[in-house]
Amino acid sequence: MTFIDEKLSPGVVLTHKLSRINWLLIALIATLCIVGALALYSVAGGSFEPWAFPQIMRILVGFVILFIVALIPLRIWFSIVVPFYVAVVGLLVLNAFIGVSAKGAQRWIDFGLINFQPSEVAKIALIMALATYYSLLPKTKVSHPVWVALPAALVLLPFLLVASQPDLGTGILIMLVGGIVMFLAGVHYLYFAVVILAVIGVVATVLLSQGTAWQILQDYQYDRINTFFDPSLDPFGAGYHIIQSKIAIGSGGLHGRGFLQGTQSQLDFLPEKHTDFVFTTLAEEFGLIWCMILLTFFVIIVLICSIAALRCKDRFGSLLVLGISSLVFLTVTTNVAMITGLIPVVGIPLPLISYGGSSMMALMFGFGLVQNVIIHAERY
């Protein structure tokens, strides 16, 4: 698949490969990482501890991972997709038994030195598995029910394991990414229409049954659903986050209050200000203009990926790159929608910026695969 002859001396190969890396993409990723570290420095009240310094270490490790993943020939990655997917599902199952509980959900496995969140890697593993599947499946069979059921199962398995942690937000993200890859692979529109209608139907039935004789869930479960959709019912819990987050964004205005000047975040009004709500700090301190520039960076990343995917001759590579870029885009939009109060708080971090190791490593791994495809794939 690659035009580089592997029999050449390693030094020559390496130089060739490095020359083909998309350095603009690397620069964008690095910029976003630096912005993230700055935000963490700011929310700690102008201090590298406790968040910025560990994050910088992770960024450095992340880039090492990115380059290693990018330089290993793509067919090696292709050949280990099946064991990789199985191993990740195994970790998710393991997580259900030995996972560490935090805030009422088991999302972490404690590996001694590091805590690890398998659901982050699960997203990448799922994209790889689906890309492999569709690269092997003849195009004519893509919409055949049997050949749709198999990838659907590949998506549902991690979804169910993650959603039962319970981490419904990440679960839904996994489902959406899986759906997008299947959509890109050309599965017939009708399947998606049926699934969407079915989901709407089930949700509507459950909600409409409230207070009737055939009520499906218990009263307290409806209470929780209602608070989920309308956080103002619980002003000291979920509603508190949103109220404070909106105030922070709004007080940023067009130009922001200036670096280290955000009162909402500095004065501890914001919960989770270093993880899921980190964008709020940026919005307060840098204002709308820089927020839009930040979002534009993500859009450019997605554009670079899409162009690379469409130029790539190989189906595995195309689907892989498009899947990963969709994942990044979806995560960004979900996070921003969440902190601006458009959707309920579901615990999705902002890629490359939020504090957190598992998410950072998984993303760097994903971008490594993207670069890999850019380096190795034959082009049109």
Binding site: M1, R75, F78, G104, S135, L136, P138, K139, T140, I180, F183, L184, A185, G186, P235, F236, G237, Y240, I243, K246, I247, A248, I249, G250, S251, G252, G253, L254, T263, Q264, L267, F269, A283, G287, L288, C291, M292, L295, V299, V302, S306, A309, L310, K313, D314, R315, F316, S318, L322, S326, F329, T333, V336, A337, T340, L342
Partner: protein, 649 residues
Amino acid sequence: MFSMRPEINLGRRNLSRRAFVLGTAQLGALAVISSRLYYLHVTESEALADLSERNRISIRLLIPERGLIVDRNGTLLAANEKQYRILMAGAEIGDAAATLEKLSRIVPLPPENRAKLLQDISTRREHIPTVIVEEASWEQVASVSVNAPSLPGVEAVVGDRRIYPMGADLAHLVGYVGRVSSKEMNDPLSRDPLLQVPDFRVGKTGVERHLDKTLRGRAGHRRIEVNASGRVMRKLGVTGAQHGPSLQLTVDSWHQNFAAARLSGETASGVVMNVQNGDILAMVSVPSFDPNKLASKISQEEFDQLLNDERRPLFNRPTQGIYPPGSTFKMITALAALESGVVTPDEVITCTGSLEAADRLFHCWKSGGHGEVDLQTSLSQSCDVYYYELGQRVGIEKINKVARRFGIGERPQFPMPSLSSGLFPTRDWKLLQHGQQWVIGDTLNAAIGQGFVLASALQLTIMTARIATGRQVEPRLVLAQHGQRVTDEPFKPLPVADTHLDLIRAGMVSVVNQPLGTAYMSRTADESFIIAGKTGTSQVRAISSRERTSGIIRNEDLPFEKRDHALFCCYAPSHAPRYAATVIVEHGGSGSAKAAPLARDLIMWAQYGGIPPLQMYPSEVRDEVREQLLNLKLRGIPPAEPTTGRQRV
């Protein structure tokens, strides 16, 4: 897979088309979040920045009033008293240290307290205020209000303090409230924001603890806008607090007071119950303590004193204290024997003072023996040998089955925390607990309520009520909740033959009303209120054979902690039972001399609705009773009700 396939061109066009659709959708999502950001940043910016900059939204919890607890007559058992507090709320204070400095001119604030307060203020979330002064005087409140502009965030509010008008009488039953412990605060099952309120009190023991969530009510909240100096600018919305509903208990505080006074001086528990509906009329544990002290301020010294007191005043004896029931258990052994047909009521067993089994001598309490004993005599004179024999015949499994039917070894259904289930031993239990095989001696000891058997005063009362009615009586403590009275539902009949129960009841009547009965001195002189009961004297120590030969040491000569427990359980009137009562006096000596007269007075109070009239006592004890009743330190005379039967000395 890496080779060109014929269909790949088709696929590629398809992929481009799909990617285009996806890209369009992504653009749409981008447009939505961008416009949302624009809306918050620009359109709403002024309003939101305003909130952030000068006027901050502040959410204040509204504390619900804790539900009252009243007795069956409506007398207050737990109430709330208003008191002024001075609070300081988190984020609105500019310079907390400076404010505290100013505040210290109004109220005394020692420097060491100030550091602690400052730390509290800085670590708490905004809507949770810090209590600066718990009980402020009116003058202090007035000067805080006058100086409000220079004291940002400081507020004088009216709060509640829990008081217990009945004091020590109902300390164990009603319980008391206390500060939220860190364990309670971090309980994932209860995320009530009220628990975060620093001076909030939750039930710690008794009914206050068991029904805490009901009594607590639900927090409301008030959203207000405050300016930088902490002044309230605008009220944005209020959700009122839901006050805790009142709770009516089945106890009668006058009866309770009488029982507590009558038992005072002892280390004892007493229970009086209505056997028809299970209502607990009185349940006392002596010695007691003042719950008012524990609920508000008690010095460490005083608390340690309560904790380390040998007589354990904090311990709720009627539900937690378990003792060998001794002879009060003999009814169960007799029922088990009758039910399995190993004895007839008329069969005579000869008591020589001891019985030999498995190479050991088992002694009757009467060393000379009772001679010829039938069922009724065995109960009225409490012959041990008769029950050793019955125990041997019927076996431990059968006794266990019957005991459980009457609630021995079973956890009572009762709305109190820390209920003891007592114990009725089985072969498996002994093997598991002691790693030893069951021996016949264990059965014999269990047959007379000794050995491993343990029961609480509440359990013995339930047992007596079940014998008296033949129904599965369960105790009841809550009479009305949310203003709604609980319904009286008749108890299910017990699977026990009435003829057998009648024999046992006749035996219990003879215990109190036959001249040779062990509780003859505790009978009444009221034909319409004949007491039926059973004495029990349970051994705390083993009596050695050397002691038996040299003469058993009299109880009074023993050190206190080695003296026998005195028990008496009874019901009355015998022809149509209404009440059951149990008294257990720890190390009280003998059941007939110590416990029976106490239980008699407690159950008679229920009948006469006040101090029992002297003429209802047999003439030979009247002088003694008059002396005892006159010396009682009662809270007062219960209010007269226009019913007959309420007579007083």
